[in-house]
Amino acid sequence: MRASCASGRAVPDIAASYLEPTRARPRAGRLARVMRKRSTVGFLMCLPLILLIALLVVYPALYAIWLAMLNKRMTTFVGLGNFAFLLKRSTFHLVIFQSCLFAVSAVIAKASIGFVLAHLMHVIPPNRQRLLRGLLLIPWVVPLALSTLGWWWLFDPSYSAFNWILDGFGVPRVAWLGSTGWARASMIVVNIWYGSPFFMIMYLAALKSVPGELFEAASIDGASAWQKLIFVTLPMMRNIISITVLFSLIVTFADFTIVRILTAGGPQDTTHIFATYAFEVGIQSGDIPLGAAVSLFMLPILAVASVFILRGVARRNREMAAG
């Protein structure tokens, strides 16, 4: 079936072709039917991105798994031997502890600070918010390697600005990166400084999407500010909190830049985390399979966290849909 356009040329009548019974073209029709599905079109449109991810993420991940199961010279398959070996090393136990300490404490602090900042920002009139929002986002926008170098300078043994201030008050100087406690605290502080704006902006967006009627209804019911926060704001934000915490947990566990620049794992290996230890073992000491095994230790930890958090998000979505 054909229709004519203004120029007189015959063009396919698209509407008619959709209405035409498919049995007239049995072979082409099956393909056309598949192609007409929204899911097929969606998949095809995503295909370039899927291929890109497969190339840049899936392939290196599978390659890392393969590497982690080879011997040091990469000539023999040793199965899970590298993982078993690592679990027997006391230094690696320290690395696991430090990675968890670093990631969990930094994420809790970032989420708390982001939550408070988002609420403070939310009560500021929108026209005054813009500048403050921009300023607060600076730590997150500046390339991490550069900002960490700035921090490193503040902690530096010879030129530490912090120690210069302490000198001014007659307080003894602190070896910020030279003693275990201060070095760990410094790393966590820099990570919090860098990551809090991300939480703030996500929570602010979530706050803005909470319907005002809920707060009005709560006010009419005589709810206090605290009760509104606990019974209205938090339940409405639970999904976004879960997803941001998960995302941040993954990124913080995989952090490399901050530790590498500030301490390189010292003093006494007490600031090494998975990524820096993997680099030291794999690239610097020439044991790539063991380095790959170190970096893959993050996988089960993050996978378990992801399953629990995403299951909670899905459950809440179902409850909301049902309710």
Binding site: K72, P157, S158, A175, G266, P267, S285, L290
Partner: protein, 447 residues
């Protein structure tokens, strides 16, 4: 006036014959002998890359090889990452600059260069023992020891600080080819004796105990001077010995007089301490002095470079060599060998070292007499004793030597020695507890 050219049938025939024979004649043009790519170390001293490029371009022109050079920085270990990537993908440059341990790490992907190195040994005598330890594997030379980037890390002291403490470093190691009897005074015990005075004067010795090479090399030289080996040449763990205890006890005593933040030092921290006029001594190549010359000339004029202190087992100067290796998957191995032979000739080595104010150390001890080390100033002769000279009675050393290199590389890069010192001095562990920790750690390196 115009000239009219005519061509006879005979001339046309001659031209045709000549044109037909043309492909039979080897015509040398740029690139006629193929292409060659090099991934060389990006020199700290800016003039270093220019000097290297000039030498390579002249060789390329003379040999009709099209040469491409990439200078790869060691900042952020980018050179190590490049080496790892090329080794994995089996493609990249033909020639690569391998820092100290990387020859062993990439052994299976390297082309032996026995012909090149044996030829050079015939010309210039034996290589220094560290270069041999790092590049001669199973009886084969697997890389050509290079001068570019190769360094010693001797003492670089403030003349005035030592004088105030009663020591004359210029008398110990004068800028002339003779052994001063007073040079024997410069021992680790003497260093410990001078350290409190320097600390009291606000000019402590900035000797790092961090995770990076300067710290590790300092600890390595100290341990070797006391005969302390963590692993012997047979690969046996020898950490629970009196020599290791002795070295560790000495180091713990010394840390009381070092700046409190030496445990977080990186390779730039000691340089900054010297340049800012806050340190009386560092162990470093003359790069710190060179920056001081630019940024703080009065400090530079007060600096003197000379070998590290001696211990009961001798005087060991930290040495960190670079090597040039040819990948087994290189496309133009013959041109690569020719070029490396050319670069290792005395004339080229001296030109490169002179361009970087004497920073580069030749791998052949017979070349330790370039004019540049006599001429550099201020003060005149400040780096005369930077290269090891025969009358220094010193031996080049790399931390963890003589352990088999596949174990030594882990001791070196995991900073086992500095961590041991830190655990004893800062971590509150007893010497025996530290030795037990080290034993466990070293057992892990044996896999």
């Amino acid at each position: 006036m115009t000239t009219t050219w005519t061509m006879t049938r005979r001339a046309a025939l001659r031209t045709a014959v000549a044109a037909t024979a043309l492909p039979l004649v080897h015509i040398r043009t740029a690139g006629a002998a193929g292409k060659l790519t090099l991934g060389l170390w990006d020199h700290w001293v800016p003039a270093g890359n220019g000097a290297m490029k000039k030498i390579i371009e002249a060789w390329a022109e003379a040999n009709k090889v099209e040469v491409g050079v990439d200078f790869i920085t060691s900042v952020g270990n980018k050179n190590l990452l490049t080496i790892a990537a090329e080794a994995q993908s089996k493609t990249g440059h033909d020639v690569e600059a391998f820092p100290a341990w990387e020859v062993h790490n990439n052994l299976q992907n390297l082309e032996p260069v026995d012909d090149v190195v044996n030829g050079l040994i015939k010309q210039y005598g034996p290589l220094n023992p560290v270069c041999e330890y790092l590049t001669k594997i199973n009886g084969h030379w697997m890389a050509v020891p290079s001068s570019s980037g190769t360094q010693y890390k001797p003492s670089c002291a403030r003349i005035s600080v030592f004088k105030a403490a009663g020591a004359d470093v210029q008398a110990w190691f004068p800028a002339k080819a003779e052994h001063s009897p007073s040079a024997d005074e410069w021992t680790w015990e003497k260093l410990l004796e001078l350290a409190p005075a320097a600390q009291k004067a606000g000019m402590p010795f900035a000797l790092g105990l961090g995770q990076t090479t300067d710290s590790v090399d300092f600890a390595g030289a100290l341990f070797r001077a006391y005969g302390a080996q963590l692993v012997n040449e047979k690969g046996e763990i020898t950490v629970k010995t009196d020599t290791v205890r002795q070295a560790l006890e000495y180091a713990v005593k010394l840390t009381r007089f070092l700046p409190p933040d030496v445990y977080s030092y990186d390779d730039a921290s000691n340089n900054r301490a010297l340049i800012s006029g806050k340190a009386g001594l560092i162990f470093n190549p003359p790069s710190a002095w060179a920056v001081a010359k630019r940024d703080n000339p009065s400090v530079a004029a007060d600096c003197w470079t000379f070998p590290t202190p001696a211990g009961p087992k001798g005087r060991f100067v930290p040495h960190l060599p670079y090597n040039w290796g040819i990948w087994s998957f290189a496309k133009n191995k013959s041109a690569a060998k020719d070029l490396l032979t050319h670069l290792a000739q005395r004339e080229q080595v001296e030109a490169l070292s002179t361009a970087v104010s004497g920073y580069d150390i030749p791998p052949f001890p017979s070349m330790a007499n370039f004019k540049v080390w006599e001429q550099v100033e201020p003060p005149l002769g400040t780096v005369y004793n930077y290269p090891i000279r025969p009358f220094h009675n010193a031996t080049p050393s790399i931390a963890a030597l003589p352990a088999p290199p596949d174990i030594a590389v882990q001791i070196y890069n995991r900073a086992t020695m500095t961590t041991m010192i830190a655990k004893a001095a800062q971590g509150g562990l007893s010497i025996e507890q530290v030795l037990a920790w080290a034993q466990d750690e070293l057992e892990g390196f044996m896999r």
